[in-house]
Symmetry: C2
Subunit: 118 residues, 2 copies
Amino acid sequence: MDIFPAMETVAQIFRSLEDETRLRIMALLLEQEELCVCDVMAVLQMPQSTVSRQLSLLKKAGWLKDRRVGVWIHYSVSRTLSPMHQYLLPVLRNFLAVTDAARLDRERLAERRKSCCP
Amino acid sequence: MDIFPAMETVAQIFRSLEDETRLRIMALLLEQEELCVCDVMAVLQMPQSTVSRQLSLLKKAGWLKDRRVGVWIHYSVSRTLSPMHQYLLPVLRNFLAVTDAARLDRERLAERRKSCCP
DNA sequence: TGACTATATCCAAAATTATGGATATATTCC
DNA sequence: GGAATATATCCATAATTTTGGATATAGTCA
Protein backbone atom coordinates (compact mmCIF):
# COMPACT_ATOMS: atom_id res chain seq x y z
CA MET A 1 0.00 0.00 0.00
CA ASP A 2 1.41 3.31 -1.12
CA ILE A 3 1.74 6.49 0.92
CA PHE A 4 -0.23 8.29 -1.77
CA PRO A 5 -3.61 6.72 -2.32
CA ALA A 6 -5.10 6.31 -5.79
CA MET A 7 -7.82 8.70 -6.90
CA GLU A 8 -10.43 6.01 -6.25
CA THR A 9 -9.15 5.63 -2.69
CA VAL A 10 -9.35 9.38 -2.14
CA ALA A 11 -12.95 9.27 -3.35
CA GLN A 12 -13.73 6.41 -0.96
CA ILE A 13 -12.42 8.33 2.01
CA PHE A 14 -14.64 11.29 1.15
CA ARG A 15 -17.50 8.90 0.55
CA SER A 16 -17.13 7.57 4.07
CA LEU A 17 -18.03 11.08 5.31
CA GLU A 18 -21.00 11.72 3.08
CA ASP A 19 -23.57 10.24 5.41
CA GLU A 20 -25.06 12.28 8.23
CA THR A 21 -25.33 9.28 10.52
CA ARG A 22 -21.62 8.53 10.10
CA LEU A 23 -20.76 12.18 10.72
CA ARG A 24 -22.77 12.15 13.93
CA ILE A 25 -20.83 9.10 15.06
CA MET A 26 -17.51 10.76 14.21
CA ALA A 27 -18.55 13.88 16.11
CA LEU A 28 -19.30 11.76 19.17
CA LEU A 29 -16.05 9.84 19.01
CA LEU A 30 -14.00 13.00 18.64
CA GLU A 31 -15.24 14.04 22.07
CA GLN A 32 -15.67 10.71 23.75
CA GLU A 33 -12.68 8.37 23.81
CA GLU A 34 -14.73 5.20 23.43
CA LEU A 35 -18.33 4.21 22.85
CA CYS A 36 -20.03 0.86 22.58
CA VAL A 37 -22.64 0.13 19.93
CA CYS A 38 -25.47 0.41 22.43
CA ASP A 39 -24.29 3.87 23.52
CA VAL A 40 -24.40 5.03 19.92
CA MET A 41 -27.82 3.44 19.40
CA ALA A 42 -29.16 5.28 22.43
CA VAL A 43 -27.72 8.63 21.38
CA LEU A 44 -28.64 8.48 17.71
CA GLN A 45 -31.93 6.78 18.45
CA MET A 46 -31.54 4.41 15.55
CA PRO A 47 -31.96 0.66 15.18
CA GLN A 48 -29.11 -1.66 16.09
CA SER A 49 -28.45 -2.96 12.59
CA THR A 50 -28.15 0.55 11.20
CA VAL A 51 -25.73 1.72 13.87
CA SER A 52 -23.63 -1.43 13.77
CA ARG A 53 -23.35 -1.21 9.99
CA GLN A 54 -22.28 2.44 9.97
CA LEU A 55 -19.71 1.79 12.68
CA SER A 56 -18.23 -1.06 10.72
CA LEU A 57 -18.20 1.10 7.56
CA LEU A 58 -16.24 3.77 9.42
CA LYS A 59 -13.85 1.10 10.64
CA LYS A 60 -13.44 -0.27 7.13
CA ALA A 61 -12.85 3.27 5.87
CA GLY A 62 -9.91 3.58 8.24
CA TRP A 63 -11.43 5.98 10.77
CA LEU A 64 -12.22 3.71 13.70
CA LYS A 65 -10.88 0.74 15.55
CA ASP A 66 -12.76 -1.59 17.84
CA ARG A 67 -11.97 -3.82 20.77
CA ARG A 68 -14.05 -6.31 22.61
CA VAL A 69 -14.74 -5.70 26.29
CA GLY A 70 -16.68 -8.66 27.51
CA VAL A 71 -19.91 -8.68 25.60
CA TRP A 72 -19.50 -5.14 24.30
CA ILE A 73 -17.54 -3.85 21.35
CA HIS A 74 -15.92 -0.49 22.04
CA TYR A 75 -15.27 1.78 19.10
CA SER A 76 -12.79 4.65 19.09
CA VAL A 77 -10.90 6.77 16.59
CA SER A 78 -7.96 4.82 15.19
CA ARG A 79 -4.55 5.86 16.39
CA THR A 80 -2.91 4.85 13.13
CA LEU A 81 -4.71 7.11 10.70
CA SER A 82 -3.38 7.43 7.16
CA PRO A 83 -1.89 10.79 6.11
CA MET A 84 -5.08 11.78 4.33
CA HIS A 85 -7.23 10.84 7.33
CA GLN A 86 -4.93 12.96 9.47
CA TYR A 87 -5.37 15.90 7.14
CA LEU A 88 -9.13 15.56 7.36
CA LEU A 89 -9.31 15.23 11.11
CA PRO A 90 -9.08 19.00 11.83
CA VAL A 91 -11.90 19.59 9.37
CA LEU A 92 -14.08 17.23 11.32
CA ARG A 93 -13.01 18.73 14.63
CA ASN A 94 -13.79 22.26 13.47
CA PHE A 95 -17.05 21.78 11.65
CA LEU A 96 -18.87 18.89 13.27
CA ALA A 97 -18.87 19.83 16.94
CA VAL A 98 -20.54 23.18 16.30
CA THR A 99 -23.59 21.75 14.53
CA ASP A 100 -26.95 21.55 16.27
CA ALA A 101 -27.14 17.83 15.59
CA ALA A 102 -23.84 17.22 17.39
CA ARG A 103 -24.89 19.38 20.32
CA LEU A 104 -28.14 17.44 20.75
CA ASP A 105 -26.25 14.15 20.54
CA ARG A 106 -23.82 15.31 23.24
CA GLU A 107 -26.74 16.17 25.48
CA ARG A 108 -28.31 12.77 24.99
CA LEU A 109 -25.02 11.10 25.76
CA ALA A 110 -24.59 13.10 28.97
CA GLU A 111 -28.14 12.20 29.98
CA ARG A 112 -27.44 8.52 29.37
CA ARG A 113 -24.20 8.68 31.33
CA LYS A 114 -26.10 9.99 34.35
CA SER A 115 -28.64 7.18 34.38
CA CYS A 116 -26.49 4.21 33.42
CA CYS A 117 -23.08 2.62 33.09
CA PRO A 118 -20.30 4.13 35.23
CA MET B 1 -26.33 31.69 6.09
CA ASP B 2 -24.27 30.93 9.14
CA ILE B 3 -20.47 30.70 9.41
CA PHE B 4 -20.88 27.21 10.78
CA PRO B 5 -22.76 24.94 8.42
CA ALA B 6 -25.33 22.43 9.64
CA MET B 7 -24.37 18.76 9.78
CA GLU B 8 -26.35 18.12 6.61
CA THR B 9 -24.36 20.86 4.84
CA VAL B 10 -21.09 19.33 6.00
CA ALA B 11 -22.25 16.01 4.58
CA GLN B 12 -23.12 17.66 1.27
CA ILE B 13 -19.68 19.17 0.92
CA PHE B 14 -18.06 15.79 1.46
CA ARG B 15 -20.58 14.27 -0.93
CA SER B 16 -19.45 16.68 -3.62
CA LEU B 17 -16.02 15.03 -3.44
CA GLU B 18 -17.11 11.43 -3.46
CA ASP B 19 -17.13 11.05 -7.22
CA GLU B 20 -13.95 10.23 -9.10
CA THR B 21 -14.95 12.31 -12.11
CA ARG B 22 -15.46 15.37 -9.93
CA LEU B 23 -12.13 14.77 -8.21
CA ARG B 24 -10.39 14.60 -11.58
CA ILE B 25 -11.95 17.94 -12.49
CA MET B 26 -10.83 19.48 -9.20
CA ALA B 27 -7.31 18.16 -9.72
CA LEU B 28 -7.22 19.81 -13.15
CA LEU B 29 -8.55 23.13 -11.91
CA LEU B 30 -6.07 23.24 -9.05
CA GLU B 31 -3.29 23.33 -11.62
CA GLN B 32 -4.95 25.14 -14.47
CA GLU B 33 -6.50 28.52 -13.73
CA GLU B 34 -9.44 28.11 -16.09
CA LEU B 35 -10.91 25.41 -18.30
CA CYS B 36 -13.90 25.37 -20.61
CA VAL B 37 -16.29 22.43 -20.74
CA CYS B 38 -14.83 21.16 -24.00
CA ASP B 39 -11.33 21.12 -22.50
CA VAL B 40 -12.57 18.96 -19.66
CA MET B 41 -14.47 16.70 -22.07
CA ALA B 42 -11.31 16.18 -24.09
CA VAL B 43 -9.15 15.45 -21.07
CA LEU B 44 -11.56 13.18 -19.23
CA GLN B 45 -12.76 11.61 -22.48
CA MET B 46 -16.34 11.66 -21.32
CA PRO B 47 -19.59 12.76 -22.95
CA GLN B 48 -20.62 16.40 -22.86
CA SER B 49 -23.68 15.93 -20.71
CA THR B 50 -21.73 14.07 -18.06
CA VAL B 51 -18.97 16.66 -17.89
CA SER B 52 -21.33 19.61 -17.90
CA ARG B 53 -23.41 18.09 -15.14
CA GLN B 54 -20.43 17.38 -12.90
CA LEU B 55 -19.07 20.89 -13.42
CA SER B 56 -22.37 22.41 -12.45
CA LEU B 57 -22.57 20.13 -9.40
CA LEU B 58 -19.15 21.35 -8.29
CA LYS B 59 -20.31 24.91 -8.82
CA LYS B 60 -23.48 24.28 -6.85
CA ALA B 61 -21.37 22.69 -4.10
CA GLY B 62 -19.42 25.93 -3.77
CA TRP B 63 -16.13 24.82 -5.33
CA LEU B 64 -16.25 26.44 -8.74
CA LYS B 65 -17.38 29.60 -10.46
CA ASP B 66 -18.01 30.08 -14.13
CA ARG B 67 -17.94 32.94 -16.57
CA ARG B 68 -19.02 33.17 -20.14
CA VAL B 69 -16.41 33.99 -22.75
CA GLY B 70 -18.21 34.22 -26.04
CA VAL B 71 -19.69 30.86 -26.69
CA TRP B 72 -17.59 29.09 -24.05
CA ILE B 73 -18.13 28.81 -20.33
CA HIS B 74 -14.91 28.96 -18.37
CA TYR B 75 -14.81 27.22 -15.01
CA SER B 76 -12.31 27.96 -12.27
CA VAL B 77 -11.94 27.45 -8.52
CA SER B 78 -14.07 29.98 -6.68
CA ARG B 79 -12.20 32.78 -4.98
CA THR B 80 -14.84 33.07 -2.25
CA LEU B 81 -14.68 29.62 -0.72
CA SER B 82 -16.45 28.98 2.57
CA PRO B 83 -14.30 28.26 5.63
CA MET B 84 -14.89 24.54 5.31
CA HIS B 85 -14.01 24.56 1.63
CA GLN B 86 -10.81 26.40 2.50
CA TYR B 87 -9.96 23.79 5.09
CA LEU B 88 -10.43 21.06 2.52
CA LEU B 89 -8.44 22.67 -0.24
CA PRO B 90 -5.01 21.58 1.08
CA VAL B 91 -6.28 18.02 1.29
CA LEU B 92 -7.17 18.15 -2.39
CA ARG B 93 -3.88 19.81 -3.27
CA ASN B 94 -1.85 17.20 -1.43
CA PHE B 95 -3.63 14.02 -2.39
CA LEU B 96 -5.12 14.52 -5.84
CA ALA B 97 -2.15 15.74 -7.87
CA VAL B 98 -0.04 12.70 -6.96
CA THR B 99 -2.51 10.14 -8.26
CA ASP B 100 -1.93 8.33 -11.54
CA ALA B 101 -5.31 9.46 -12.83
CA ALA B 102 -4.39 13.11 -12.32
CA ARG B 103 -1.02 12.65 -13.96
CA LEU B 104 -2.58 11.10 -17.06
CA ASP B 105 -5.13 13.90 -17.21
CA ARG B 106 -2.37 16.50 -17.03
CA GLU B 107 -0.60 14.81 -19.90
CA ARG B 108 -3.73 14.79 -22.03
CA LEU B 109 -4.31 18.45 -21.28
CA ALA B 110 -0.75 19.36 -22.29
CA GLU B 111 -1.18 17.37 -25.49
CA ARG B 112 -4.40 19.20 -26.28
CA ARG B 113 -2.79 22.56 -25.58
CA LYS B 114 -0.12 21.80 -28.16
CA SER B 115 -2.57 21.01 -30.94
CA CYS B 116 -5.32 23.53 -30.31
CA CYS B 117 -6.49 26.79 -28.74
CA PRO B 118 -3.74 29.28 -27.86
C1' DT C 1 -32.03 35.86 -40.57
C1' DG C 2 -30.04 31.20 -40.57
C1' DA C 3 -26.32 27.85 -39.88
C1' DC C 4 -23.12 26.51 -36.46
C1' DT C 5 -20.97 25.67 -32.03
C1' DA C 6 -20.78 25.28 -26.94
C1' DT C 7 -23.27 24.36 -23.05
C1' DA C 8 -27.25 23.20 -20.01
C1' DT C 9 -31.09 20.52 -18.99
C1' DC C 10 -34.37 16.66 -19.48
C1' DC C 11 -35.42 11.95 -19.07
C1' DA C 12 -35.58 7.05 -18.43
C1' DA C 13 -32.60 3.39 -17.34
C1' DA C 14 -28.68 1.48 -14.63
C1' DA C 15 -25.94 1.42 -10.66
C1' DT C 16 -25.06 2.29 -6.03
C1' DT C 17 -26.21 2.87 -1.27
C1' DA C 18 -29.14 2.91 2.83
C1' DT C 19 -32.68 0.83 5.62
C1' DG C 20 -34.38 -2.14 9.32
C1' DG C 21 -36.38 -6.56 10.54
C1' DA C 22 -34.79 -11.34 10.91
C1' DT C 23 -31.24 -14.33 11.88
C1' DA C 24 -26.54 -15.80 13.28
C1' DT C 25 -22.56 -15.43 16.37
C1' DA C 26 -20.19 -14.64 20.57
C1' DT C 27 -19.86 -13.75 25.44
C1' DT C 28 -21.42 -13.81 30.21
C1' DC C 29 -23.75 -15.49 34.09
C1' DC C 30 -26.41 -18.83 36.51
C1' DG D 1 -25.45 -26.64 29.37
C1' DG D 2 -29.02 -22.98 28.82
C1' DA D 3 -30.90 -18.26 29.15
C1' DA D 4 -29.87 -13.64 28.29
C1' DT D 5 -27.50 -9.84 26.17
C1' DA D 6 -24.58 -7.33 22.64
C1' DT D 7 -23.18 -7.24 18.16
C1' DA D 8 -22.61 -8.58 13.22
C1' DT D 9 -24.48 -10.07 9.05
C1' DC D 10 -28.14 -11.29 5.74
C1' DC D 11 -31.78 -9.99 2.82
C1' DA D 12 -35.25 -7.74 0.16
C1' DT D 13 -36.91 -3.17 -0.45
C1' DA D 14 -36.52 1.76 -0.81
C1' DA D 15 -34.06 5.77 -1.84
C1' DT D 16 -30.49 8.19 -4.06
C1' DT D 17 -27.14 9.05 -7.58
C1' DT D 18 -25.09 8.46 -12.07
C1' DT D 19 -25.27 7.88 -16.90
C1' DG D 20 -25.56 9.41 -21.72
C1' DG D 21 -28.53 10.26 -25.63
C1' DA D 22 -31.99 13.67 -26.94
C1' DT D 23 -33.47 18.18 -26.74
C1' DA D 24 -33.35 23.12 -25.47
C1' DT D 25 -30.83 27.47 -24.97
C1' DA D 26 -27.59 30.95 -26.03
C1' DG D 27 -23.97 33.14 -28.43
C1' DT D 28 -21.22 33.85 -32.97
C1' DC D 29 -20.45 34.64 -37.58
C1' DA D 30 -21.65 35.14 -42.33
